[in-house]
């Protein structure tokens, strides 16, 4: 049996969760509501995060373009995605929402621009 500790972020309560994992069974303790339970389960089975970063921007007074993943990426892949993005260069003009890179590292998630640069 594996034991994990998390702080729930579903509301300002910030419950200290204790999550116990044993083959098919996941047990969440310390939560005070259903959302806390779901958070605990997700954090242990498939924690995901939205990635925000910048990429090199050419042809503009700005040197960097802010971008985000258009969906959540497995937490464990965040660093690899950042490393990948550090090699990407984009040229202005760019519009907010433009896809900068499709399906980053096979996650099925696109990287999109989060602002417009003329």
């Amino acid at each position: 049996m594996k034991r994990h500790e998390f702080v729930c972020i579903m509301c300002p309560m910030g419950c200290n969760l204790e999550v116990l994992e044993d083959e098919d069974v996941i047990l969440v303790k310390g939560n005070q509501c259903k959302r806390g339970y779901e958070y605990g389960v997700k954090e242990i089975s498939n924690p995901t995060r939205v990635l925000t970063s910048t990429v090199i921007l050419k042809n503009s007074y700005l040197r960097r373009l802010p971008v985000k993943s258009d969906g959540e990426i497995p937490k464990g892949m965040i660093k690899d995605c950042v490393k990948f993005l550090s090699k990407i260069e984009v040229s202005a003009p760019v519009k907010m929402g433009d896809v900068i890179h499709k399906n980053i590292l096979g996650t099925g998630v696109d990287i999109v621009s989060t602002r417009t640069v003329e």
């Binding site: 998390f6 702080v7 972020i9 300002p12 309560m13 910030g14 005070q32 995060r49 939205v50 925000t52 970063s53 910048t54 090199i56 007074y61 700005l62 040197r63 960097r64 802010p66 985000k68 937490k75 965040i78 660093k79 950042v82 907010m96 989060t114 602002r115 417009t116």
Partner: protein, 418 residues
């Protein structure tokens, strides 16, 4: 130059205020921004989490800003960038400077102040030690990294667990820097829980409560900082010192509303918020000058800034059209136990629509408590809270009908432990 409304500051507050004023029928509006583009600090807040209350989705700072900038353009509201407001006076004259117009006076029927806030510095908190390069406020570091595209250091200690500091801990880590620790003077964080989890826990960055930086080493560039535990009076405890070798110290130790223009105009400032006293329409002590956003009090969510700015925009529109009612019942808000401040400080009942949101901060962490709203000493409403903390602004929504049977009196809110 003559305008109906001059909005000072093109960040989230100014944008929303200008848009709302236009939607409420104000014709000649000009918004003035000192930076080279609109959006204010949102442009450097490239992380997400903005807009849950206003748009029901999680946007990044630039996305949140761009929605408002687009609306501003659609509504054909005039704006000036790279333009500094040098002075405002009680005659509602605004003196501006930019490269094309030079030094100009604008006459306005109404003004909305939305200059935002600045960061508390090392000098303000009086950290002793050397004064090398490598000490940045978190917001300045954020601008360098996210907008200018330059890194500020490789090994970093962060003092203060405000949201910007937490966000920067993650941002620096992802850019390849090593964040050694976040150090917080208080026994609790002044930042949001989700930021502690997603910015610190996710990257195994330690957070030390009741600790502070007591010395800075390094004659030219930071070479290290000494941190120590503090006692209940926030005084460093001898023998608890630990030296951290690092090249950078980031400070996230509080924000201060930027009210130099307001003060010079003669606007009364509330010592509790460091922002102007405002009424239900976000009007300051000078008739026709309104204020909203972080210039009034420091918010932790931009969504609330937007809502407050919309209230200021509507208030200014009513004022310009001569529809504001300045006589009638006045209710003043006062702090009860456990409350540090309440905004607005004054409600003119006749100007309320159906309801009003009161923003406030508590002075400590309280679990399982009530926020009791009292009018003339009588409880008129009570809100159950599982947890309130100084790091998260509380709001209380009151209906006009809750208040309408009262005459001039004071309204207090207090924290009651259950």
């Amino acid at each position: 130059m003559k305008y109906d409304l001059v909005v000072v500051g093109g960040g989230p507050a100014g944008l929303a205020a200008a848009i709302e004023a236009r939607k409420n029928g104000v014709e000649r509006i000009v918004l003035i921004e000192r930076d080279r583009e609109l959006g204010g600090i949102l442009q450097q807040c490239i992380h997400n989490g903005f807009g849950l209350h206003v748009f029901g989705e999680q946007l990044t700072g630039p996305e949140y800003a761009e929605r408002f900038i687009n609306e501003l353009n659609n509504l054909k509201i005039e704006y000036l960038t790279n333009t500094m407001v040098l002075e405002i006076n009680d005659k509602k004259e605004v003196y501006i400077l930019n490269q094309e117009l030079g030094f100009r006076r604008i006459e306005a029927k109404a003004i909305i102040l939305s200059m935002g806030c600045r960061e508390r510095t090392r000098g303000a908190i009086g950290i002793p030690g050397f004064r090398p390069a490598g000490i940045f406020t978190a917001g300045t570091a954020q601008r360098f990294i996210n907008i200018e595209g330059y890194m500020v250091g490789k090994k970093v200690v962060i003092l203060g667990s405000g949201d910007i500091g937490l966000i920067m801990a993650r941002r620096l880590t992802l850019e390849g820097a090593k964040v050694l620790a976040v150090v917080e003077l208080m026994p609790y964080s002044t930042g949001l829980t989700r930021n502690i989890v997603q910015c610190l826990h996710d990257y195994n960055i330690p957070l030390f409560f009741e600790h502070t930086v007591i010395d800075i080493k390094g004659k030219n560039r930071v070479e290290g900082v000494t941190i120590a535990k503090v006692d209940n009076n926030r005084v460093p405890i001898r023998g608890t010192e630990v030296f951290y070798e690092c090249d950078t110290l980031l400070l996230s130790v509080g924000l201060i509303p930027e009210n130099e223009l307001s003060r010079n105009a003669g606007i009364e400032i509330d010592a509790r918020t460091s922002g102007p006293f405002v009424n239900e329409s976000m009007e300051t002590s000078i008739e026709g000058i309104f204020a909203c956003g972080n210039v009034v009090h420091v918010h932790d969510l931009v969504d609330f800034v937007t809502q407050e700015a919309q209230r200021a925009g509507r208030g200014a529109a009513r004022y310009i059209k001569g529809e504001a009612i300045d006589n009638g019942v006045v209710i003043r808000t006062v702090n009860g136990n456990g409350i540090r401040y309440i905004v607005p400080q004054k409600l003119r009942l006749e100007n309320l629509n159906d309801e009003i949101n009161l923003f406030m901060r508590v002075d400590n962490i309280y679990n399982n408590c009530r926020l009791d709203v009292k009018l003339d000493g009588k409880i008129i409403k009570s809100f159950k809270k599982r947890k309130v903390t100084p790091g998260e602004m509380e709001t209380v929504k009151l209906k006009k009908s809750d208040l309408s049977t009262y005459n001039d009196c004071s309204l207090s809110i207090e924290v009651v432990k259950e």
